[in-house]
Amino acid sequence: MNSGDTVWVLVSAALVFIMTPGVALFYGGMARRKNILSILMQCFMIMCLIGVQWVIYGYSLSFGPDTGHGIIGGLDWVGLKGIGLGPHPDYGSTIPHQAFMVFQAMFAILTPALIVGAFAERIKFSAFTFFMLLWATLVYDPIAHWVWSTGGWLKKMGALDFAGGIVVHVSSGISALVMSALIGKRLGYEKQAFTPHNLPITMLGGGLLWFGWFGFNAGSALEAGGIAANAFVTTNISAAAAGLTWALIEWQHHGAPTVLGIVTGAVAGLVSITPACGFVGPLSAVAIGALGGIFSYLAVTALKPRAGYDDSLDVFGVHGIGGMWGTLATGLFAQKAINETGSNGLFFGNSALFLIQGLYLLVCLAYAAAMTWMLFILADALFGMRVSREDEMVGLDLTQHHEASYTVLE
Protein backbone atom coordinates (compact mmCIF):
# COMPACT_ATOMS: atom_id res chain seq x y z
CA MET A 1 0.00 0.00 0.00
CA ASN A 2 1.22 3.45 -0.90
CA SER A 3 -0.31 6.51 0.69
CA GLY A 4 0.60 8.79 -2.25
CA ASP A 5 -1.15 6.49 -4.73
CA THR A 6 -4.17 6.16 -2.45
CA VAL A 7 -4.52 9.92 -2.09
CA TRP A 8 -4.29 10.40 -5.84
CA VAL A 9 -6.91 7.80 -6.68
CA LEU A 10 -9.33 9.10 -4.01
CA VAL A 11 -8.88 12.70 -5.17
CA SER A 12 -9.31 11.54 -8.76
CA ALA A 13 -12.57 9.79 -7.82
CA ALA A 14 -13.84 13.11 -6.46
CA LEU A 15 -12.68 14.86 -9.64
CA VAL A 16 -14.54 12.36 -11.83
CA PHE A 17 -17.60 12.78 -9.61
CA ILE A 18 -17.79 16.53 -10.41
CA MET A 19 -17.97 15.70 -14.11
CA THR A 20 -21.58 14.52 -13.81
CA PRO A 21 -22.88 17.80 -12.37
CA GLY A 22 -20.54 19.37 -14.94
CA VAL A 23 -22.15 17.57 -17.85
CA ALA A 24 -25.58 18.45 -16.43
CA LEU A 25 -24.73 22.17 -16.54
CA PHE A 26 -23.02 21.80 -19.92
CA TYR A 27 -26.22 20.32 -21.38
CA GLY A 28 -28.60 22.38 -19.24
CA GLY A 29 -27.43 25.70 -20.64
CA MET A 30 -27.90 24.40 -24.18
CA ALA A 31 -31.53 23.42 -23.59
CA ARG A 32 -34.42 25.84 -23.75
CA ARG A 33 -35.35 27.57 -20.50
CA LYS A 34 -38.43 25.41 -19.97
CA ASN A 35 -36.32 22.23 -19.92
CA ILE A 36 -33.13 22.97 -17.96
CA LEU A 37 -34.33 21.37 -14.73
CA SER A 38 -35.29 18.16 -16.51
CA ILE A 39 -31.67 17.82 -17.72
CA LEU A 40 -30.20 18.59 -14.29
CA MET A 41 -32.65 16.17 -12.68
CA GLN A 42 -31.87 13.35 -15.10
CA CYS A 43 -28.14 13.68 -14.35
CA PHE A 44 -28.67 13.94 -10.60
CA MET A 45 -31.01 10.93 -10.67
CA ILE A 46 -28.27 8.93 -12.37
CA MET A 47 -25.81 9.97 -9.64
CA CYS A 48 -28.18 8.54 -7.03
CA LEU A 49 -29.52 5.56 -8.98
CA ILE A 50 -26.19 4.22 -10.26
CA GLY A 51 -24.50 5.20 -7.00
CA VAL A 52 -26.64 2.50 -5.39
CA GLN A 53 -26.71 0.08 -8.35
CA TRP A 54 -22.90 -0.01 -8.43
CA VAL A 55 -22.64 -1.03 -4.80
CA ILE A 56 -25.41 -3.63 -4.92
CA TYR A 57 -24.38 -5.48 -8.09
CA GLY A 58 -22.82 -3.19 -10.73
CA TYR A 59 -19.27 -3.47 -9.46
CA SER A 60 -19.59 -7.23 -9.19
CA LEU A 61 -20.86 -7.60 -12.77
CA SER A 62 -18.11 -5.31 -14.07
CA PHE A 63 -15.05 -6.29 -12.09
CA GLY A 64 -16.10 -9.38 -10.15
CA PRO A 65 -14.34 -12.70 -10.83
CA ASP A 66 -15.07 -13.74 -14.41
CA THR A 67 -17.79 -16.32 -14.97
CA GLY A 68 -15.74 -18.19 -17.55
CA HIS A 69 -15.68 -16.63 -21.02
CA GLY A 70 -14.65 -13.06 -20.35
CA ILE A 71 -18.23 -11.87 -20.90
CA ILE A 72 -19.48 -10.84 -17.47
CA GLY A 73 -18.39 -10.83 -13.84
CA GLY A 74 -20.03 -13.13 -11.33
CA LEU A 75 -22.07 -12.24 -8.30
CA ASP A 76 -19.28 -12.94 -5.79
CA TRP A 77 -18.87 -9.23 -4.96
CA VAL A 78 -22.58 -8.37 -4.65
CA GLY A 79 -23.08 -5.76 -1.95
CA LEU A 80 -19.29 -5.20 -2.00
CA LYS A 81 -18.83 -8.50 -0.19
CA GLY A 82 -15.12 -9.04 0.31
CA ILE A 83 -14.11 -5.63 -1.12
CA GLY A 84 -11.70 -4.86 1.63
CA LEU A 85 -9.46 -2.03 2.67
CA GLY A 86 -6.38 -3.85 1.46
CA PRO A 87 -5.21 -3.87 -2.16
CA HIS A 88 -6.42 -6.20 -4.93
CA PRO A 89 -3.44 -7.44 -6.96
CA ASP A 90 -5.02 -6.61 -10.37
CA TYR A 91 -6.90 -3.43 -9.53
CA GLY A 92 -4.30 -1.02 -8.21
CA SER A 93 -1.86 -3.12 -6.24
CA THR A 94 -0.82 -0.19 -4.03
CA ILE A 95 -4.25 1.20 -3.10
CA PRO A 96 -7.22 -0.08 -1.10
CA HIS A 97 -9.60 -2.16 -3.21
CA GLN A 98 -12.40 0.15 -2.02
CA ALA A 99 -10.57 3.17 -3.48
CA PHE A 100 -10.50 1.44 -6.87
CA MET A 101 -14.16 0.49 -6.51
CA VAL A 102 -15.30 4.06 -5.77
CA PHE A 103 -13.10 5.50 -8.54
CA GLN A 104 -14.81 3.14 -10.97
CA ALA A 105 -18.23 4.01 -9.51
CA MET A 106 -17.80 7.58 -10.77
CA PHE A 107 -17.20 6.31 -14.32
CA ALA A 108 -20.31 4.14 -14.13
CA ILE A 109 -22.30 7.22 -13.08
CA LEU A 110 -20.88 9.58 -15.68
CA THR A 111 -21.41 7.31 -18.69
CA PRO A 112 -25.22 7.12 -18.69
CA ALA A 113 -25.39 10.84 -17.84
CA LEU A 114 -23.59 11.60 -21.10
CA ILE A 115 -26.50 10.11 -23.09
CA VAL A 116 -28.97 12.60 -21.57
CA GLY A 117 -28.22 15.16 -24.29
CA ALA A 118 -29.54 12.91 -27.06
CA PHE A 119 -33.19 12.78 -26.00
CA ALA A 120 -33.26 16.10 -24.17
CA GLU A 121 -36.50 18.05 -23.98
CA ARG A 122 -38.86 15.18 -24.84
CA ILE A 123 -38.35 12.03 -22.70
CA LYS A 124 -40.72 10.84 -19.99
CA PHE A 125 -38.95 10.67 -16.65
CA SER A 126 -40.34 7.29 -15.56
CA ALA A 127 -39.26 5.67 -18.83
CA PHE A 128 -35.89 7.42 -18.54
CA THR A 129 -35.21 6.05 -15.05
CA PHE A 130 -36.16 2.51 -16.04
CA PHE A 131 -34.09 2.69 -19.22
CA MET A 132 -30.99 4.01 -17.47
CA LEU A 133 -30.99 1.31 -14.81
CA LEU A 134 -31.13 -1.36 -17.52
CA TRP A 135 -28.59 0.44 -19.71
CA ALA A 136 -26.06 0.64 -16.88
CA THR A 137 -26.63 -3.05 -16.08
CA LEU A 138 -26.71 -4.52 -19.58
CA VAL A 139 -24.49 -2.17 -21.60
CA TYR A 140 -22.01 -0.40 -19.33
CA ASP A 141 -21.26 -3.22 -16.89
CA PRO A 142 -20.51 -5.88 -19.56
CA ILE A 143 -18.37 -3.55 -21.70
CA ALA A 144 -16.40 -2.41 -18.65
CA HIS A 145 -15.87 -6.09 -17.86
CA TRP A 146 -14.65 -6.96 -21.36
CA VAL A 147 -12.15 -4.11 -21.50
CA TRP A 148 -10.91 -3.50 -17.98
CA SER A 149 -11.43 -6.53 -15.77
CA THR A 150 -9.01 -9.35 -15.31
CA GLY A 151 -10.31 -12.09 -17.59
CA GLY A 152 -12.26 -9.70 -19.86
CA TRP A 153 -12.04 -11.02 -23.44
CA LEU A 154 -11.01 -7.74 -25.06
CA LYS A 155 -8.38 -7.07 -22.44
CA LYS A 156 -6.87 -10.48 -23.16
CA MET A 157 -6.67 -9.59 -26.87
CA GLY A 158 -4.48 -6.61 -26.10
CA ALA A 159 -6.87 -3.77 -26.87
CA LEU A 160 -5.79 -0.49 -25.25
CA ASP A 161 -8.23 1.91 -23.60
CA PHE A 162 -6.44 3.93 -20.96
CA ALA A 163 -9.34 5.82 -19.40
CA GLY A 164 -12.51 4.76 -21.21
CA GLY A 165 -12.66 5.97 -24.81
CA ILE A 166 -14.74 2.93 -25.68
CA VAL A 167 -16.22 1.97 -22.36
CA VAL A 168 -17.44 5.48 -21.60
CA HIS A 169 -17.55 7.62 -24.72
CA VAL A 170 -18.19 5.29 -27.64
CA SER A 171 -20.76 3.28 -25.69
CA SER A 172 -22.67 6.41 -24.65
CA GLY A 173 -22.18 8.14 -28.01
CA ILE A 174 -23.56 5.33 -30.16
CA SER A 175 -26.40 4.74 -27.71
CA ALA A 176 -27.23 8.43 -27.98
CA LEU A 177 -27.45 8.13 -31.75
CA VAL A 178 -29.79 5.14 -31.52
CA MET A 179 -31.93 6.84 -28.88
CA SER A 180 -32.27 10.08 -30.81
CA ALA A 181 -33.30 8.17 -33.94
CA LEU A 182 -35.87 6.03 -32.09
CA ILE A 183 -37.44 8.74 -29.94
CA GLY A 184 -37.80 11.07 -32.92
CA LYS A 185 -37.22 14.75 -33.45
CA ARG A 186 -38.41 17.47 -31.11
CA LEU A 187 -41.61 19.24 -32.11
CA GLY A 188 -40.75 22.00 -34.54
CA TYR A 189 -37.25 20.70 -35.27
CA GLU A 190 -35.88 22.25 -38.48
CA LYS A 191 -38.85 24.64 -38.53
CA GLN A 192 -38.12 26.88 -35.58
CA ALA A 193 -35.01 28.11 -33.79
CA PHE A 194 -33.59 25.98 -30.98
CA THR A 195 -31.19 28.36 -29.33
CA PRO A 196 -29.25 27.61 -26.14
CA HIS A 197 -30.88 29.57 -23.31
CA ASN A 198 -27.87 30.17 -21.06
CA LEU A 199 -24.39 29.72 -22.47
CA PRO A 200 -22.56 30.89 -19.31
CA ILE A 201 -23.99 27.77 -17.60
CA THR A 202 -22.72 25.69 -20.51
CA MET A 203 -19.27 27.24 -20.12
CA LEU A 204 -19.32 26.50 -16.38
CA GLY A 205 -20.22 22.89 -17.10
CA GLY A 206 -17.55 22.62 -19.78
CA GLY A 207 -14.98 24.03 -17.35
CA LEU A 208 -15.97 21.50 -14.68
CA LEU A 209 -15.67 18.72 -17.26
CA TRP A 210 -12.14 19.80 -18.21
CA PHE A 211 -11.19 20.06 -14.51
CA GLY A 212 -12.69 16.67 -13.65
CA TRP A 213 -11.09 15.07 -16.69
CA PHE A 214 -7.67 15.32 -15.01
CA GLY A 215 -8.94 12.82 -12.48
CA PHE A 216 -10.67 10.76 -15.16
CA ASN A 217 -7.52 10.36 -17.26
CA ALA A 218 -4.59 10.82 -14.90
CA GLY A 219 -6.37 8.94 -12.10
CA SER A 220 -6.71 5.93 -14.41
CA ALA A 221 -2.96 5.35 -13.93
CA LEU A 222 -4.02 4.14 -10.44
CA GLU A 223 -0.76 5.48 -9.04
CA ALA A 224 0.81 8.87 -8.45
CA GLY A 225 3.66 8.47 -10.88
CA GLY A 226 5.04 9.26 -14.30
CA ILE A 227 2.17 7.71 -16.28
CA ALA A 228 -0.32 9.83 -14.34
CA ALA A 229 1.72 12.94 -15.15
CA ASN A 230 1.86 11.93 -18.82
CA ALA A 231 -1.91 11.45 -18.93
CA PHE A 232 -2.49 14.76 -17.16
CA VAL A 233 -0.29 16.63 -19.64
CA THR A 234 -1.67 15.01 -22.81
CA THR A 235 -5.22 15.61 -21.56
CA ASN A 236 -4.65 19.33 -21.22
CA ILE A 237 -2.85 19.57 -24.57
CA SER A 238 -5.57 17.73 -26.47
CA ALA A 239 -8.40 19.80 -25.00
CA ALA A 240 -6.57 23.03 -25.79
CA ALA A 241 -5.73 21.96 -29.35
CA ALA A 242 -9.30 20.89 -30.09
CA GLY A 243 -10.91 24.02 -28.61
CA LEU A 244 -8.51 26.16 -30.62
CA THR A 245 -9.19 24.20 -33.80
CA TRP A 246 -12.96 24.52 -33.43
CA ALA A 247 -12.73 28.26 -32.78
CA LEU A 248 -10.49 28.81 -35.81
CA ILE A 249 -12.80 26.83 -38.11
CA GLU A 250 -15.76 28.90 -36.94
CA TRP A 251 -13.81 32.10 -37.42
CA GLN A 252 -13.13 31.05 -40.99
CA HIS A 253 -16.66 29.77 -41.75
CA HIS A 254 -18.88 32.23 -39.91
CA GLY A 255 -16.72 35.26 -39.32
CA ALA A 256 -16.66 34.88 -35.54
CA PRO A 257 -15.61 32.19 -33.03
CA THR A 258 -18.33 31.26 -30.51
CA VAL A 259 -18.27 30.32 -26.83
CA LEU A 260 -20.41 27.26 -27.51
CA GLY A 261 -17.97 26.28 -30.25
CA ILE A 262 -14.74 26.60 -28.30
CA VAL A 263 -16.18 24.79 -25.26
CA THR A 264 -17.60 22.01 -27.44
CA GLY A 265 -14.25 21.70 -29.19
CA ALA A 266 -12.41 21.37 -25.88
CA VAL A 267 -14.78 18.60 -24.76
CA ALA A 268 -14.26 16.81 -28.10
CA GLY A 269 -10.50 17.03 -27.48
CA LEU A 270 -10.88 15.61 -23.98
CA VAL A 271 -12.92 12.70 -25.34
CA SER A 272 -10.42 12.05 -28.13
CA ILE A 273 -7.40 11.79 -25.83
CA THR A 274 -9.17 9.62 -23.23
CA PRO A 275 -8.22 6.17 -24.57
CA ALA A 276 -4.75 7.35 -25.59
CA CYS A 277 -3.63 9.68 -22.78
CA GLY A 278 -1.44 7.18 -20.95
CA PHE A 279 0.22 5.80 -24.09
CA VAL A 280 1.09 8.81 -26.29
CA GLY A 281 3.46 11.77 -26.18
CA PRO A 282 2.74 15.51 -26.12
CA LEU A 283 2.99 16.18 -29.86
CA SER A 284 0.79 13.18 -30.62
CA ALA A 285 -1.71 14.74 -28.20
CA VAL A 286 -1.72 17.94 -30.26
CA ALA A 287 -2.54 15.92 -33.39
CA ILE A 288 -5.19 13.80 -31.64
CA GLY A 289 -6.86 16.90 -30.21
CA ALA A 290 -6.79 19.00 -33.37
CA LEU A 291 -8.10 16.16 -35.56
CA GLY A 292 -10.68 15.25 -32.90
CA GLY A 293 -11.94 18.83 -33.06
CA ILE A 294 -12.18 18.72 -36.84
CA PHE A 295 -13.97 15.33 -36.97
CA SER A 296 -16.39 16.38 -34.27
CA TYR A 297 -17.08 19.70 -36.00
CA LEU A 298 -17.85 17.88 -39.25
CA ALA A 299 -20.14 15.41 -37.49
CA VAL A 300 -22.12 18.13 -35.76
CA THR A 301 -22.36 20.65 -38.59
CA ALA A 302 -22.39 18.46 -41.71
CA LEU A 303 -23.31 14.86 -40.84
CA LYS A 304 -26.19 15.59 -38.46
CA PRO A 305 -28.16 17.98 -40.70
CA ARG A 306 -27.70 15.65 -43.68
CA ALA A 307 -28.65 12.46 -41.86
CA GLY A 308 -31.58 14.24 -40.22
CA TYR A 309 -31.48 12.82 -36.67
CA ASP A 310 -32.15 15.16 -33.75
CA ASP A 311 -29.28 14.34 -31.37
CA SER A 312 -30.32 17.45 -29.50
CA LEU A 313 -27.11 18.32 -27.66
CA ASP A 314 -24.70 16.41 -29.94
CA VAL A 315 -23.74 13.49 -27.75
CA PHE A 316 -22.90 11.36 -30.77
CA GLY A 317 -21.05 14.14 -32.58
CA VAL A 318 -18.84 14.92 -29.60
CA HIS A 319 -18.56 11.72 -27.53
CA GLY A 320 -19.27 9.12 -30.21
CA ILE A 321 -17.04 10.57 -32.90
CA GLY A 322 -14.37 11.74 -30.45
CA GLY A 323 -14.31 8.33 -28.74
CA MET A 324 -14.05 6.43 -32.05
CA TRP A 325 -11.28 8.67 -33.28
CA GLY A 326 -9.41 8.40 -29.97
CA THR A 327 -9.66 4.61 -29.98
CA LEU A 328 -8.23 4.40 -33.51
CA ALA A 329 -5.70 7.15 -32.72
CA THR A 330 -4.40 5.02 -29.86
CA GLY A 331 -3.63 2.38 -32.48
CA LEU A 332 -1.70 5.00 -34.46
CA PHE A 333 0.18 7.05 -31.87
CA ALA A 334 0.79 4.69 -28.91
CA GLN A 335 4.44 4.32 -27.91
CA LYS A 336 6.08 1.75 -25.69
CA ALA A 337 8.70 4.39 -24.92
CA ILE A 338 5.98 6.32 -23.07
CA ASN A 339 4.31 3.41 -21.35
CA GLU A 340 5.93 -0.01 -21.38
CA THR A 341 2.72 -1.77 -20.40
CA GLY A 342 1.14 -0.55 -23.68
CA SER A 343 2.16 -1.30 -27.28
CA ASN A 344 3.53 0.56 -30.25
CA GLY A 345 1.00 1.98 -32.71
CA LEU A 346 1.07 2.09 -36.50
CA PHE A 347 3.29 5.19 -36.58
CA PHE A 348 5.79 3.44 -34.35
CA GLY A 349 6.14 0.30 -36.42
CA ASN A 350 3.31 -1.98 -35.27
CA SER A 351 0.18 -2.36 -37.40
CA ALA A 352 -1.34 -5.11 -35.26
CA LEU A 353 -2.49 -2.71 -32.54
CA PHE A 354 -4.43 -0.58 -35.02
CA LEU A 355 -6.34 -3.65 -36.23
CA ILE A 356 -7.10 -4.75 -32.68
CA GLN A 357 -8.36 -1.25 -31.85
CA GLY A 358 -10.57 -1.31 -34.96
CA LEU A 359 -12.05 -4.68 -34.07
CA TYR A 360 -12.57 -3.59 -30.50
CA LEU A 361 -14.39 -0.50 -31.72
CA LEU A 362 -16.71 -2.43 -34.05
CA VAL A 363 -17.65 -5.00 -31.43
CA CYS A 364 -18.53 -2.37 -28.84
CA LEU A 365 -20.40 -0.20 -31.34
CA ALA A 366 -22.52 -3.12 -32.48
CA TYR A 367 -23.21 -4.38 -28.97
CA ALA A 368 -24.13 -0.99 -27.49
CA ALA A 369 -26.32 -0.07 -30.48
CA ALA A 370 -28.22 -3.39 -30.47
CA MET A 371 -28.76 -3.40 -26.71
CA THR A 372 -29.90 0.23 -26.65
CA TRP A 373 -32.36 -0.53 -29.42
CA MET A 374 -33.84 -3.46 -27.48
CA LEU A 375 -33.98 -1.58 -24.20
CA PHE A 376 -35.71 1.33 -25.92
CA ILE A 377 -38.42 -1.00 -27.26
CA LEU A 378 -38.92 -2.49 -23.79
CA ALA A 379 -39.06 0.85 -21.95
CA ASP A 380 -41.32 2.31 -24.63
CA ALA A 381 -43.75 -0.62 -24.33
CA LEU A 382 -43.90 -0.39 -20.54
CA PHE A 383 -43.89 3.37 -19.94
CA GLY A 384 -44.05 5.21 -23.27
CA MET A 385 -40.72 6.86 -23.94
CA ARG A 386 -41.93 10.21 -25.12
CA VAL A 387 -44.02 12.78 -23.27
CA SER A 388 -47.33 13.93 -24.77
CA ARG A 389 -47.36 16.69 -27.35
CA GLU A 390 -48.88 19.12 -24.84
CA ASP A 391 -46.30 18.29 -22.18
CA GLU A 392 -43.49 18.80 -24.65
CA MET A 393 -44.80 22.24 -25.57
CA VAL A 394 -45.25 23.28 -21.94
CA GLY A 395 -41.79 21.94 -21.10
CA LEU A 396 -40.46 19.06 -19.02
CA ASP A 397 -39.62 21.15 -15.95
CA LEU A 398 -43.25 21.82 -15.17
CA THR A 399 -44.81 18.63 -16.51
CA GLN A 400 -42.26 16.07 -15.24
CA HIS A 401 -40.96 17.74 -12.09
CA HIS A 402 -43.57 20.37 -11.14
CA GLU A 403 -41.05 23.17 -10.77
CA ALA A 404 -39.55 25.97 -12.82
CA SER A 405 -36.10 27.51 -13.01
CA TYR A 406 -37.04 31.01 -13.94
CA THR A 407 -40.23 32.66 -12.75
CA VAL A 408 -42.03 35.64 -14.27
CA LEU A 409 -42.48 37.30 -10.89
CA GLU A 410 -39.96 36.85 -8.14
Binding site: A193, T195, P196, E250, H254, L260, G261, T264, T301, P305
Partner: protein, 93 residues
Protein backbone atom coordinates in the same frame (compact mmCIF):
# COMPACT_ATOMS: atom_id res chain seq x y z
CA UNK B 1 -53.84 62.72 -21.04
CA UNK B 2 -51.48 61.22 -23.54
CA UNK B 3 -49.54 57.97 -23.32
CA UNK B 4 -46.14 58.25 -25.00
CA UNK B 5 -44.25 55.09 -25.98
CA UNK B 6 -40.64 55.31 -27.18
CA UNK B 7 -38.26 52.54 -28.31
CA UNK B 8 -34.63 53.55 -27.83
CA UNK B 9 -31.15 52.00 -27.93
CA UNK B 10 -30.35 50.55 -24.48
CA UNK B 11 -27.14 52.55 -24.08
CA UNK B 12 -29.06 55.86 -24.38
CA UNK B 13 -31.33 55.18 -21.39
CA UNK B 14 -29.36 57.27 -18.89
CA UNK B 15 -29.29 60.25 -21.25
CA UNK B 16 -33.03 60.00 -21.87
CA UNK B 17 -33.71 59.87 -18.14
CA UNK B 18 -31.54 62.93 -17.61
CA UNK B 19 -33.23 64.86 -20.45
CA UNK B 20 -36.65 64.00 -19.03
CA UNK B 21 -35.61 65.20 -15.59
CA UNK B 22 -34.34 68.44 -17.08
CA UNK B 23 -37.82 68.86 -18.59
CA UNK B 24 -39.29 68.28 -15.12
CA UNK B 25 -40.69 64.87 -16.06
CA UNK B 26 -40.05 62.24 -13.37
CA UNK B 27 -42.66 59.56 -13.93
CA UNK B 28 -41.72 56.89 -16.43
CA UNK B 29 -41.85 53.12 -16.98
CA UNK B 30 -38.93 51.25 -18.56
CA UNK B 31 -38.87 47.71 -19.91
CA UNK B 32 -36.61 45.49 -22.00
CA UNK B 33 -37.81 44.92 -25.53
CA UNK B 34 -36.69 43.05 -28.64
CA UNK B 35 -37.07 44.58 -32.06
CA UNK B 36 -35.56 45.33 -35.39
CA UNK B 37 -35.42 48.08 -37.95
CA UNK B 38 -34.57 48.19 -41.62
CA UNK B 39 -30.97 47.13 -40.88
CA UNK B 40 -32.18 43.82 -39.30
CA UNK B 41 -30.39 42.10 -36.43
CA UNK B 42 -27.54 39.63 -36.20
CA UNK B 43 -27.55 36.07 -37.44
CA UNK B 44 -26.69 33.77 -34.54
CA UNK B 45 -24.62 30.61 -35.05
CA UNK B 46 -24.84 27.63 -32.66
CA UNK B 47 -22.50 24.74 -33.47
CA UNK B 48 -22.64 25.73 -37.11
CA UNK B 49 -26.44 25.98 -37.20
CA UNK B 50 -27.51 29.48 -38.24
CA UNK B 51 -30.49 30.94 -36.43
CA UNK B 52 -31.86 34.07 -38.07
CA UNK B 53 -33.52 35.55 -35.03
CA UNK B 54 -32.96 39.05 -36.39
CA UNK B 55 -34.06 40.82 -33.22
CA UNK B 56 -31.93 43.17 -31.18
CA UNK B 57 -32.26 44.34 -27.60
CA UNK B 58 -34.04 47.67 -27.22
CA UNK B 59 -35.42 49.59 -24.29
CA UNK B 60 -39.04 50.68 -24.20
CA UNK B 61 -39.94 53.86 -22.33
CA UNK B 62 -43.52 54.74 -21.45
CA UNK B 63 -44.61 58.12 -20.09
CA UNK B 64 -48.13 59.20 -19.27
CA UNK B 65 -48.57 62.98 -19.17
CA UNK B 66 -51.10 65.75 -19.67
CA UNK B 67 -51.37 67.74 -22.93
CA UNK B 68 -49.00 70.52 -21.83
CA UNK B 69 -46.16 68.09 -21.36
CA UNK B 70 -46.46 66.18 -24.64
CA UNK B 71 -44.03 68.32 -26.62
CA UNK B 72 -41.41 68.68 -23.83
CA UNK B 73 -41.45 64.90 -23.24
CA UNK B 74 -41.05 64.09 -26.94
CA UNK B 75 -38.26 66.62 -27.32
CA UNK B 76 -36.46 65.30 -24.25
CA UNK B 77 -36.61 61.69 -25.46
CA UNK B 78 -35.40 62.60 -28.94
CA UNK B 79 -32.55 64.66 -27.47
CA UNK B 80 -31.47 62.00 -25.01
CA UNK B 81 -31.81 59.04 -27.35
CA UNK B 82 -30.03 60.57 -30.34
CA UNK B 83 -27.36 58.19 -31.71
CA UNK B 84 -26.62 59.87 -35.02
CA UNK B 85 -27.78 56.75 -36.90
CA UNK B 86 -30.75 55.99 -39.13
CA UNK B 87 -33.97 55.78 -37.15
CA UNK B 88 -33.32 58.72 -34.82
CA UNK B 89 -36.42 60.74 -33.96
CA UNK B 90 -39.04 58.81 -35.96
CA UNK B 91 -42.48 59.63 -34.59
CA UNK B 92 -45.69 57.67 -35.25
CA UNK B 93 -48.58 59.68 -33.85
Amino acid sequence: MKYIIAIIQPHRLDEVKKALEDADVHLLTVSNALGRGRQMGFTEVYRGAKEVCGLLKKVKIEVACNEDFVEPVIEAIIKGARTGNIGDGNICP
